[in-house]
Symmetry: C2
């Protein structure tokens, strides 16, 4: 793969890469999609290079699909990382060695790469990662127990989570992550899992209904012992409108 890129390096944007932080949510767990690199036995974010004839946003979609089999999901650019020492020459040389590429042929790869970070939030049960090649390991790992990552990938991951939490103040989440019909406590659990803290039940109910994206159904959750909670669904038009225009709850 790297050999291929180096042999055709004029087709790739020099010193630029893409890294994707894919959060997976299901049943009150928040996980991150990581790839175990063959060269360093460390874990990494799915990432890749940018073809010169592709918009960076499209390249992010391609990278994601190529490395994980995930397609058609919401990907959002959140930050660009360009510290001088973000990729060390030691690391680059180790990778080149692993692939048996002479260091002078791999010079393109050892330069400082600036990387554009994208994040997404998907239902991890519905996303089936497809590793590229049989030796690659792609796994959903609980965000509480993420192991050491290569380069500054931990910093990229932390920034993505910080952005996701911040964006909960700007847009709704839940569509594609919850079943079609859900209860308010289930929606609250989703928010609590992403935010990593408990929320007050009444406050949450008041704020979430004020957004105007919920339709109260004439149905109650079954198989619940007593006082079955009401079921809701998202009003998709209103939901999309709020995603587009923002919550406007601030000023």
């Amino acid at each position: 793969m790297l050999k291929n890129v180096l042999d055709n390096k004029e087709n790739y944007q020099p010193s630029l890469s893409i890294d994707c932080v894919i959060f997976g949510f299901h049943d009150n767990q928040l996980k991150v999609l990581l790839i175990k690199t063959k060269h360093s036995h460390e874990w990494a974010l799915p990432g890749g290079f940018v073809p010169v004839d592709e918009d960076i946003d499209d390249a992010a979609v391609s990278v994601l699909y190529g490395r994980t089999g995930l397609k058609g999901i919401f990907l959002r650019q959140f930050a660009t990382f360009g510290a001088v020492k973000r990729n060390s020459i030691d690391f680059s040389n180790r990778v080149l060695n692993f692939y048996g590429i002479p260091l002078d042929e791999g010079k393109w790869y050892t330069n400082r790469f600036v990387t554009v970070g994208y994040y997404a939030l998907v239902d991890f049960l519905q996303a089936v990662p497809q590793p590229e090649g049989k030796n690659e390991i792609v796994e959903w790992i609980d965000h509480h127990v993420v192991p050491d990552l290569i380069l500054d990938h931990k910093k990229i991951l932390d920034k993505a989570l910080e952005t996701l939490r911040m964006e909960l103040n700007l847009m709704p989440v839940g569509y594609n992550l919850l079943p079609e019909k859900f209860t308010i406590p289930e929606l609250q659990k989703l928010y609590e899992t992403i935010l990593g803290r408990k929320l007050d039940r009444r406050n949450f109910l008041r704020k979430i209904t004020a957004i105007g994206i919920l339709t109260k159904l004439d149905e109650k959750k079954s198989n619940v012992a007593h006082k079955a909670p009401n079921l809701y669904s998202f009003d998709q038009d209103k939901y999309n409108e709020v995603v587009k225009n923002g919550l406007h709850q601030g000023w």
Copy 2:
């Protein structure tokens, strides 16, 4: 300048640039700092290239200082722009022609450049732009009447303004933009100018005081006809804390 960069292109990150959107606020006006390019007679955002031995965030600070004389101000990265057609070959060739650089020597410059956008908000009366070279025009232009800009700079500017407005929901603004002592109506005007819309007086008062960054002074605004409004100042420790941790008003 471009000739210099091309002669030392191994010292610069290839195909990467920085563009800065500097908003200037004073007395209920929101302006943008623009540079009139010599080659196209169009206006442009202050921008530049990234030295290989500099972090991109530091390069943004240098670019800003080098092009405008502004230093020590809050600069925040907001988005990276990398559409394939963002810089056209026509435009690049026109610039090379203007500087008398043969097209084959200028190839480095004609590649697709991905640009990292930064924005800042300063008091434009306190910032004195220093054009580089005597032919350069650097000007504060009212954001309502921004003329045509080169490349995708209008898009970058629009995105910066959108980000600034969105970030009003996440952090306070006002410090460095208002006099040390100010009234709530003055602070409200600042918010209204940035947001481009009127705000309800009572709602604003309630929300802004709830943040807990204001100190009510034992002083009233003088030279006001009747019912002089109270003066306030920012509690700087609390202000900085909220800037750092976010408003947390959402959930």
